[in-house]
Every structure is written in structure tokens, then in C-alpha cells.
């Protein structure tokens, strides 16, 4: 008989608890009933602010949070627990449902703290914690926008949560005020020096900062609000958001007579057990050994401790690292360890570069040998390394770690870290655990470490360190293209670019061995094509091309081909559509509409391809590159042209982009999409580069993928105009084309890129490598030299001559190809009896 575990609350921590319990409880000793107050399953609250980018709640979904298919978990949403009867061991919910438990876990999180200010309950005053809060704020912004154009807003609270709220408002196109009682922003994380720089950087972003003053009253003023500050300032605003910290939701525990912590929260011991041995508390509602934590990582480790305890194993909460690193409106802020130099006798080393907007402080022990903590503002790239050094002996002079030359990443290596140094703070994975995965479990790649230890799977900032640990462990990650080239694709690209070699034979003679194979030949052909070496079937290049490129069509299972002409943006005239129908009829082709908004004609033999294309080219069609590792389509919705919701001309942009990037050869296929508004009908976020219109311009997302491993594209820039958008896509694509591995889609490339999205942003938006001019010039050259490949074949008798089934019998049909009819169309029948010689 299994026992019943009741969980009150379904937030991030509750979800981790259920996940941990269910994955370890192989015998099913617990049945789990979860009651959540919110009407949706647990979602990623940490990235709540990104909801503004898409207004798509699905983007915040936590994987597996519905427990689909798990019969031992019952998830009841929109029905909070209202009371606990500890004697009867049962809970009662708002809807009146009564549920017995053998064990109960409280995971009710926090509520936003709203100071007792006059007018705090007026309409137009909001808090910032849930998706619904954001929907409400958005509605208020829209209403105010209709009344008076550009609404004004204020946020009360200049800490982490306040700045998150300010960012959300800014992303909605507002210039918010931020009111903070302390003398600086983010008072808990940064010191005065860092706060000063932060203030300046945030002010530059069109946010008005009021520090050292409180909000004393809010009054209704017509359909607006007037907020009076303690220093006498009066702010006229349309809405006001309280985001000034949180308080644990401990009311259930209080009402049931459980002991509470001094500063609130349901008091627990190190195993997360409350004063009632059958009741546990985890996450932000818990006060573990008297301490409440407002971050998700400690919550996760409580969830794991509680799950282990429930399964009869010994586990205890190790205390938590409250280090934080965030990027707020593009400004890096990090603090770790004893950031405020509270340790007796501690010394501070400060590096303050006002010109470049970077402030760094390290706190060290009185003998300057041990790192205790630190603050980084503006540039937090050394955060991971520095944080993992806390408590250990300093490997170098502290000034060298943060000074301008080198910086922590170069000054010390991963070797310097102790085994219990935490590499991945999101998932609490130590260097020791990662090394064990490398040496004992045979993990030989970053991907293997990720799936084995979970390190690097949340924010990803430790991924470069995983690579370094692999290297330190003597594991060479071979980047050789194949047995003929020891170089990676990116290295070969640079060689070809620098040496201007134009043929495969010269490249392999000078830089490789042997005669090449089906791996390196097409890869080099693609590089040569990207760098503009004439027609892909010209000269020696023809025999390098992979299956489909060889005949500029897609080979199907019976050796026939399919033909896909380009239909930019999916927009096609009736006349052209009729031509496609006529051609299909004349050549007996099977027709199907593709997912990329064009028409695919199947069943053409090698000999038919030029005849078919003659008709298509005459009617104004050109190659659609469905056969190539190249730009496929830019899918679009109808946008402002037709749609009632459209914000911009999505079809116009899709056509422009498709014509710009057509024919660009790349490491793998490239797909794109443009949606006219956040409803996302063109599914742009499943594309390599997807664009979504907002009322302020275009949002660009990169690295999306459908297929077997779907990935939502990440927001790279928002609210840009068309020129800026095109410039950034030019750079993005060229950077990808130059540096990706063979057959690596942008999604995998971005996942593996050292420094991830931040690095990509630095390179293609901030031009940190100084290569943007070069990337743009390369793209301009591509655009200027584009020619239709099929037209090129039709105009060249030598190329045309290769389109025959049999060299000794031109025109003779291939006897192995035959069709039958299915649903009124031809489909292949396999006749060719394979001549298998068994040996």
C-alpha cells in the first residue's frame, strides 16, 4: 500500500520536489497529491520578466510540470489548501475537498511585500509575482495608452525584483521611475561603489531612479495616480507596481500551530521537517534553521533534501550560497560570498573603471590569502570562477584577478579550484562531481556532462568551465572533420578564407591527407560556395556535392527527385500557382504543400529535371534550395496587410529577407519565419532566426529548432527597425557560417558557443571582436553575387549533359523506377531487386 503525500503549492520548488521524489521512488511507495493555487502548472518564475517579450506563457513552462502519464501524481490546480487538521492528518481546500495525508509538504512560496502606504489598494496599483500580475499590468498599460499615448509608471523597490519590474515596463515601451528607500539600487547585493555605477547605467536606459526616499502616499487623480515620495517629489503616473521584496506565505503553518521562524517562514530543521514530524516545508515559505531564502537554488536543494528524507534516506540542507548574478536591462550585476565585507578584519580590493562602466570588488581575509566574497557591476564575466574560489586559498594576487589585464578567467585555471568548489550554482554541482562524471562515468563531452550531472542546464554560464574541466582531465574533444582533415570545419573555413584556395584538390593536398570522402567533400564544397567560388556544379566542385546538391534537387527513396521552386515568404500569384499545377500534370508529379509554405513536386527523374526547370524558370521561378545546406524559406503570416492583430508588415519583411539570404551556403539548413504579432502564427521561434513584430518594431530570436530536439529561439534584440534588424541578421548568419561545425544547426551551435547568448550578443550587437564590418561586407558580397543556380545549369550545355540516367543511352527511362496511384496521385513502387552478394 502506498502512502499519500500532499503538497500545498505548485511553484518551482514544489515541482522539483515531486520530480525528485518520483524519479527516486522506483517502487512507488508514495502517491502524491498536489494542490496549487495558481491555475497553471509550475512555471519558471525566475524568467517571469521575459514573458513580456512574447506574451506566450508556454515559453515559461517547466518541463514535465503536468506529470502527464504518471498515475501516482494528482495535480489539482486553482484549488489552494485552506486549512490543516494535524490530528486527523488531513487538509481541506478552498473548493471543500478533503484530503488525508501521511506526509504534507508546504511549498507555498512568498507573497509580494506591500508596505502599508495610503492608497496601496487603489486600482492601477499592482504587484509583480505571477503571469496574471503581468497580464494585469499589460492591460493597464494598454488602457492608459489608449487614453493618452505614452503612459507613465513607477516601481516601488530598487532591489532585484524592483529592477525586474522596471525592465518589464521598459520592454512594454515605458520609461519607468524606480523608488528605492536605501541609498543605492540593489542594496542587498552591491555596495555603494557598485550601486553608484549601477545607478548610472540604469539611468542611461531611460529609467528615472529615486534613491534614499520612500513612497509616502498614493492618491487617485482622475484616471491617473499621484505618488508622493518622502523627499517631497510628486510623480504623476498611470500605474504603480510594488516590487519591494517578499514575505514567506506561512499562514497555513501559523494557523495549524506550527513553529515559525523569527523573521517569518515555517520553521524547519536541516531535513526541512517542521515542528510536526509529518509536515515539511520547502522553498521560500520555509525558515530552515531560522533562515529564509529568496532564491530558487536553495529552494531546489531543500526540495531534494525533503524528497530524500521522505524516502527514508539521510539528507540535510547544507546551507546555501546566496550569490547572485543577473543581467538587468543588459547590465551585469553579481555578488557572491561576503559581499559587504562583514567578516572581521576583512580587506577590500576595488577596481573601478568609470569609463568602461565596470566596477569590481573582492573581499579577502585579513592576511589576503583567502577570498571571502565580492561584487561585480557592468562586467560579471569572471563571476563563475571567482565565486567558486570563495573560501579557498587565492591562486594569485587579488588585484590580478580583477585588474584590466587578463582577468580571473585567464589569471587562474580550473585546476586551482578545490573539489568542493561549486561550478554550476543553479544545480549545485561541484567540481568533484563533474570530475567524477568525467573519469568514472566516462563523460567525454560537454553534452554528456550536462545530461549526467545537470551542470550547465539552467543558466548555462558555467558551460565554458565544463569544457575547461574536460581539457584539464586530459580529454581531448576531437574537432577533426574526418580522417582526411585534422582541422574542424571552422578552422578549414578560416584556412580557405585566408589562403584563397579555390579547389578541394588543392586544399586536401596542402592541408589534408588521402583523397577525401562523403564527409569532407560536401563540407568543403559548402565552404567554397559560401566564399563565392562560382556555380556549385562548376568544374571540380560538382563531384564534391552531396546527394541533393549534385543534381540541385532532393533525392527520394527510389532515386527520383523532388523539385521545390522558391516562393518568397509563401506569397504566390494565382498565375504562378497554375504553372506549378500544369508542370506537375505534364510530368506526372506528386504534389504536396510543404511546412515552409511552398509546393513540393515529387517523382522527377534525372532526365526530367532540366525540362521541368526550363518551364519553371520561364515562368519566373528560381531554385528554392530545398536540396542545399542553405537558406530554405522565410515563413510568414499575413501581418498588417490582412490580419486584424498585425503590428507590422510581416510578409513584406519575409520576402525581403528570403531574397536577401537565398542561396547562402551554410553548415546546415537555415530556416526563418516572421510573425506579425505575438500570436506567432508563423512559428518564428522554432526557426534558426525568427522575427516577431511588436508595436515598437521587430524582435529577433535566434537558435530555434523544430525536429527531434525542439528548441525555442532566444531573444537577441527587441524593438529594432528593419535596417538594424537586417544588419544584425547579416552579422549573426555570417558569424554562424564561419564558426559552426559541419551539420550543426544554429540551435546546437548556440548551445555549445562559449559564453552562449551573452557572447553572441557581445559579438554581433556590441561588436566585441571588432569583426562586424567584415561580417557585413561578406554578406553584402553574397547578396551582390547571388545568381539562380538552376538558370546557371540551363545556360550551360556541359552541366546540362550530366542530367541523364544512362551515359550510353540518353533518354532511356530507368527501368527500376515505377509508380502506382494512391489517393489520385503517383507514388513510388520499388522494383529494383537488390543484388546482394553475401560473403
Amino acid at each position: 500500500m502506498s502512502r499519500t503525500l500532499v503538497v500545498a503549492g505548485h511553484g518551482m520548488v514544489a515541482h522539483r520536489l515531486v520530480e525528485a521524489l518520483r524519479s527516486d521512488d522506483v517502487d512507488g511507495t508514495w502517491r502524491v497529491v498536489v494542490f496549487g493555487e495558481e491555475t497553471r502548472p509550475a512555471y519558471d518564475r525566475v524568467v517571469l520578466t521575459s514573458y513580456v517579450d512574447t506574451w506566450d506563457a508556454d515559453a515559461l513552462v517547466l518541463p514535465g510540470a503536468e506529470y502527464a502519464g504518471d498515475e501516482l501524481v494528482d495535480l489539482v490546480l486553482g484549488d489552494p489548501v485552506e486549512s490543516i487538521d494535524r490530528d486527523a492528518k488531513r487538509v481541506t481546500t478552498r473548493s471543500g475537498r478533503v484530503q488525508d495525508y501521511d506526509a504534507l509538504v508546504l511549498a507555498t512560496g512568498s507573497r509580494p511585500f506591500v508596505p502599508p502606504v495610503e492608497g496601496k489598494d487603489l486600482p492601477g496599483v499592482f504587484v509583480y509575482r505571477t503571469i496574471e500580475d503581468l497580464d494585469d499590468i499589460r492591460a493597464a498599460v494598454e488602457r492608459a495608452r489608449q487614453r493618452r499615448g505614452r503612459p507613465a509608471a513607477a516601481v516601488v523597490g530598487g532591489g532585484l525584483l524592483g529592477l525586474e519590474a522596471a525592465k518589464a515596463l521598459r520592454d512594454m515601451g515605458l520609461s519607468p521611475h524606480v523608488v528605492e528607500m536605501a541609498p543605492r539600487l540593489m542594496p542587498l547585493q552591491v555596495d555603494d561603489g557598485g550601486g553608484g555605477l549601477l545607478n548610472r547605467l540604469i539611468t542611461d536606459l531611460d529609467v528615472t531612479v529615486h534613491t534614499g526616499t520612500s513612497t509616502s502616499a498614493i492618491a487617485q487623480d482622475g484616471d491617473r495616480l499621484q505618488a508622493r515620495l518622502g523627499n517631497g517629489t510628486e510623480l504623476d503616473v498611470d500605474l504603480l507596481v510594488f516590487s519591494a521584496g517578499v514575505r514567506p506565505r506561512d499562514d497555513l503553518g501559523r494557523q495549524a500551530g506550527l513553529e515559525l521562524g523569527e523573521r517569518g517562514g515555517v520553521l524547519t530543521d536541516e531535513t526541512c521537517r517542521t515542528s510536526d514530524p509529518d509536515i515539511f516545508a520547502v522553498g521560500e515559505c520555509a525558515s530552515v534553521a531560522g533562515r529564509v531564502y529568496g532564491l530558487v537554488a536553495p529552494g531546489y536543494s531543500m526540495a531534494e533534501v525533503a524528497a530524500a528524507t521522505l524516502l527514508g534516506r539521510e539528507a540535510s540542507f547544507p546551507g546555501a550560497d546566496t550569490s547572485t548574478k543577473l543581467k538587468l536591462m543588459g547590465v551585469d550585476v553579481a555578488s557572491f560570498g561576503d559581499a559587504h565585507a562583514a567578516t572581521e578584519g576583512s580587506l577590500e580590493v576595488v577596481f573601478n573603471d568609470a569609463v568602461n562602466g565596470s566596477y569590481k570588488k573582492l573581499v579577502v581575509s585579513d592576511d589576503a590569502t583567502t577570498l571571502l566574497g565580492g561584487v561585480l557591476v557592468g562586467d560579471a564575466s569572471e563571476y563563475n570562477l571567482l565565486r567558486s574560489l570563495v573560501g579557498g586559498e587565492l591562486p594569485a594576487d587579488p588585484a590580478a584577478l580583477i585588474g584590466p589585464a587578463g582577468g580571473g578567467g585567464d589569471a587562474v585555471g580550473v585546476e586551482a579550484l578545490s573539489d568542493d568548489a561549486q561550478i554550476c550554482s543553479c544545480n549545485a554541482v561541484t567540481k568533484g562531481a563533474i570530475n567524477a562524471a568525467i573519469h568514472d562515468d566516462g563523460c567525454d563531452s560537454v553534452g554528456a556532462i550536462k545530461s549526467c550531472t545537470r551542470a550547465g542546464t539552467s543558466c548555462g554560464s558555467c558551460v565554458p568551465m565544463l569544457g575547461k574541466l574536460l581539457a584539464a582531465g586530459g580529454i581531448e574533444q576531437s574537432t577533426a572533420l574526418c580522417e582526411h582533415f585534422t582541422q574542424s570545419r571552422a578552422e578549414l573555413f578560416e584556412i580557405v578564407r585566408a589562403t584563397r584556395i579555390t579547389t578541394f584538390s588543392e586544399l586536401i593536398a596542402k592541408h589534408g591527407t588521402g583523397t577525401g570522402c562523403a564527409v569532407c567533400k560536401p563540407a568543403v564544397a559548402s565552404i567554397l560556395a559560401t566564399l563565392g567560388n562560382g556555380h556549385v556544379l562548376g568544374g571540380e566542385q560538382a563531384t564534391l556535392q552531396d546527394t541533393n546538391d549534385r543534381f540541385l534537387a532532393n533525392m527520394q527513396r527510389n532515386g527520383t527527385y523532388s523539385v521545390v521552386p522558391r516562393v518568397p515568404g509563401g506569397e504566390i500569384t494565382p498565375d504562378k500557382l497554375i504553372v506549378l499545377g500544369e508542370v506537375a500534370k505534364e510530368f506526372g508529379l506528386y504534389t504536396k504543400i510543404t511546412g515552409g509554405q511552398r509546393v513540393d513536386l515529387f517523382g522527377a527523374t534525372v532526365d526530367q529535371l532540366p525540362q521541368i526547370w526550363r518551364r519553371l524558370v520561364d515562368a519566373g521561378f528560381e531554385s528554392g534550395h530545398a536540396y542545399g545546406k542553405a537558406l530554405r524559406t522565410v515563413k510568414s503570416c499575413v501581418g498588417t496587410t490582412w490580419c486584424r492583430y498585425g503590428q507590422q508588415d510581416s510578409v513584406g519583411l519575409a520576402v525581403e529577407l528570403e531574397l536577401r539570404y537565398r542561396g547562402l551556403r551554410s553548415p546546415h539548413k537555415l530556416k526563418s519565419g516572421v510573425s506579425g504579432c505575438q500570436r506567432e502564427c508563423a512559428e518564428a521561434r522554432s526557426k534558426d532566426f525568427g522575427i516577431i513584430a511588436t508595436e515598437h518594431g521587430w524582435n529577433l530570436y535566434v537558435g530555434g529548432n523544430g525536429g527531434a530536439v525542439p528548441r525555442h529561439a532566444d531573444l537577441l534584440v527587441s524593438g529594432v527597425d528593419t535596417d538594424e534588424l537586417v544588419r544584425i541578421i547579416d552579422r549573426f548568419l555570417m558569424f554562424y557560417v564561419r564558426t559552426a561545425d559541419r551539420l550543426q544547426r544554429t540551435a546546437a551551435w548556440l548551445d555549445e558557443l562559449d559564453g552562449g547568448l551573452d557572447h553572441l550578443y557581445a559579438v554581433v550587437v556590441e561588436d566585441s571582436l571588432g569583426i562586424c564590418d567584415e561580417l557585413e561586407a561578406a554578406m553584402a558580397e553574397h547578396v551582390a553575387n547571388y545568381e539562380d543556380e538552376w538558370k546557371g545549369v540551363l545556360e550551360d550545355p556541359e552541366k546540362l549533359a550530366r542530367f541523364t540516367s544512362f551515359v550510353n543511352a540518353p533518354g532511356a527511362p530507368d527501368p527500376t523506377i515505377a509508380f502506382e496511384t494512391e489517393r489520385d496521385q503517383p507514388v513510388p513502387v520499388m522494383l529494383g531487386v537488390p543484388e546482394v552478394v553475401s560473403r
Partner: protein, 120 residues
């Protein structure tokens, strides 16, 4: 031009002329249709050697090997099937990726610049 006539051509009974040598691209191939409907892929390596193999890819049943990429794997001259990319030894027809599978080979010779395929 190299004249390839190895031992395998010795027993051939009938020779069919198929094309001029220069019609076969280096590192590529052409398909020839013989009288009995047999299709032979005639493939040319980078150093100019010619090889004849059945044109039918045994894994898919499609007549496509003449359209594969010619190269080498560990020094063995091969053609890769364009359908599922298995490599076949040009000299023996053996599949490198699945040693239980092999395909027929055909002798090839060049006479006065014309390529002939032999059938035993």
C-alpha cells in the same frame, strides 16, 4: 590516360562500349544500361582509375550508386551511397559499414579512349 585492365577483366565474355573516358567526372561516376537491363555504375577515382559496380544500392533498392561521392576510407577507394551513405569498396563491392553486404563488380577497360564494361 591509364588503361585499367586488371585480372578481373580476364574472364569477361562480352564488352559493351559505354562512353568516352572524359565523360566520367574525376571523383564521380556515370550509369550505363546494359542489354539485359543490368545497370552498372562506372566510377572514376581521383588518380584516374575506373571501377564498375552494380548501380543498385542494396540498402534502398534504388539505382543510384553512380551518383555517389567517390573518395577513400583508410586508403580503400570507395563510393558512398547517396541514399543512406554506406561506403562500398570500389575494388570488391564489399560494404565497409556492414561486412555482410556486398554488391556485384564489373570489369572495366579503356580502348582508344572509349570505356567498355564487361559481363562474364
Amino acid at each position: 590516360m591509364t588503361v585499367l585492365s586488371d585480372d578481373r577483366s580476364a574472364g569477361a565474355e562480352t564488352w559493351t562500349p559505354v562512353c568516352r573516358v572524359e565523360q566520367i567526372p574525376v571523383g564521380g561516376g556515370v550509369a550505363a544500361l546494359l542489354d539485359d537491363g543490368v545497370q552498372v555504375a562506372v566510377l572514376r577515382t581521383d588518380d584516374g582509375e575506373l571501377h564498375g559496380l552494380s548501380n543498385i544500392d542494396p540498402f534502398s533498392g534504388a539505382a543510384v550508386l553512380a551518383r555517389g561521392i567517390v573518395g577513400d576510407i583508410g586508403g580503400v577507394p570507395v563510393v558512398a551511397s547517396p541514399i543512406y551513405k554506406q561506403n562500398f569498396d570500389l575494388r570488391t563491392g564489399r560494404c565497409l559499414d556492414d561486412p555482410d553486404v556486398g554488391i556485384a563488380t564489373y570489369p572495366v577497360r579503356v580502348v582508344d579512349g572509349t570505356v567498355h564494361v564487361g559481363v562474364r
